[in-house]
Amino acid sequence: MGGLRPPILLVGTQDPRFDLGAAVREAGVRGKVALITAGWQERESEDSELVEDLGGPVVNLRLHERADDVFARDRDLSDAYKKRQRQLRLLNDFYRIRLDHAFEAARAISVRHVDEDLLDEERHVSVEELRHLDRDHLERCVVRQVAFDARWKPAQRPIVAEHRREIAKILASSRAVVLAGGHVASLLNRMKLFGVVDLAAGLPWIAAAGGAMVLTERIFLFHDFPPHGTGIAEVFDVGFGLVKDVVVLPDPRRRIRLDDRQGIARFVQRIAPATCVAMDSGARLWVERGRVVRAFAHRLFQDGTVEPGWTG
């Protein structure tokens, strides 16, 4: 294929019903698919409903279970991994504290009764501060992850390597990888641990919700209706970067104040120049060579407007 990347189809939320099976058929995939439900954590193997929806032959890669096996048998790696995760959680806590203060400052300035031009300038400064915090946080997370990989070389640890061989064998006989959503941290970390994206090179991906998020370059966590306070979106980690220049926000109907023009404007400016796409049930992003070539989703714009049914 001369370096051509296989197509990727990102789909929206699977709640209240699965439509990954329909997406697989839309992608023209015939034959066995490899399934990843590691985002479901301990419920990873409770996949019968999804398998039924997919229709054809399915093999679950069981990444969550495999990771548990690695952590149980390779204590050194497990301890080092837990230590790294503790550090990353602390970094995340500190980033959130800074983010809260930046939002509070932006709010305090935005309610001043001063010239609109000056307020515009201040809004720009506020967004730049958020962008700086996001960038800095991502960089610091990546530095730790790179250092961890360099020090521990997980792919070369015997137990990880054993699982990688098994995963590679399954993928070699699969026609596509289907990636369900769920807990994005669990999903991302287990996919990284086994290097699944490298092992699946050459296969199409059909990824839903959280699964779609991890295939992009940056993963943002968001919820505008939290049980207390106001939701502040935060950058979580870098994804696998198979889909470029897009930030994916699943389940906008339940998670985003689509009528909050100012909030949407601030977020889209914060992630610019990336395209901001919100994906409800039934939404699609068709991706070729890393770029969105066709869409059926909501697109969010820097002026705070939303285009439902955006077609790319």
Partner: protein, 383 residues
Amino acid sequence: MDGMSITRAIDALASGPKDPAAVDAFLAAHTFPLVEGPAITFVFRGEAEAVNLKHWVYGLPSSQPLARLEGTDLWHLTFELPRGSRVEYKLEVVRGGAGQWFQDPLNQSLARDPFGANSVAHSEGYEVPEWIHPDPEARPGTMEDEHWVDSPTFGRRSVAVYLPARFRRTRRYPLLVVHDGHDYLRYASLGTILDNLIQRLEIPDMIVVLTSSPNRLIEYADDERHARWLTEELVPHLERALPIDARPQTRCLMGASFGAVAALSTAWRYPGFYGRLLLQSGSFAFTDIGDRNHRGPLFDPVVAFMNRLRAQPIPMAERVFVSCGMYESLIYENRSFVPALQSTGMDVRYVEARDGHNWENWRDRLREGLSWLFPGPLLLVYE
């Protein structure tokens, strides 16, 4: 300003024919108490020498007479109730010189507590939270009603243990210990709320232990034995028996009224052991001078404790959620105490509600309190 006044339904009735049929029609046409904008009208129909509204709203006279609508057996009282208010009350009907307290016969809405049940009224802007009702999508946790603990301090005591629906022995769970936990279960829908908040990912799966004391007014009032029982006996026992994440930040004490005092004084006696505190309408009585509080001798140990703590606040936990009703007398104590808590550097969240010292007030704050102390994976899960 006459043009701006609102003609209330009771005024309309008063200005028309006041025969029994008109009263019947008035009662049939409305639900009671009658909420019209900011005004609330309490109504009673029946022969009596007097009818009084008895309520527990601190700041208003606790007994207010209803007026008889001339020529009828209808009694009424109207006053303004701020938006978002919730009030528990009874009606006192005086006959033969003796008053008897009743639930409002025209109002089916009741709030139960260990002493019985009160009628409930609320103004515009208050809604019963939807997350207190059983959700068919939420898997129920399991409750072990009698989990016995041998205690050198108090002998053998039973607690109830809530395990989340998808409980697995291979995981480690946060621990929440609830004072008066059985009452929280009965009167504040705690079990249903835990099921719902866990299902919605607003709090993590957690193990919740419900304690009750046979002598709470003594044991909860800064009693060293109670703190020892919880910290050196109950929690270690639970950590041996159940897969509990034994870290301060995953360990929480919770309580209301004297139960909040017990939670606070236990955390104070064991600083750093409990990383989370949820304190509702704490009976945090104190004095600025002298050691006698107007609340009576049961409060004396509380006053001594609070005075000591206010003089030298310490960071006993990491996060503290404090809530109190504006319509309870303890609002003064709670408002006064929050700055002292904050001065220690602890992360303190303080919430007020237009409600009184009652279980439904405490129920209504549980979502905010629990999800702030123990944020669930809501932000991380995208199905």
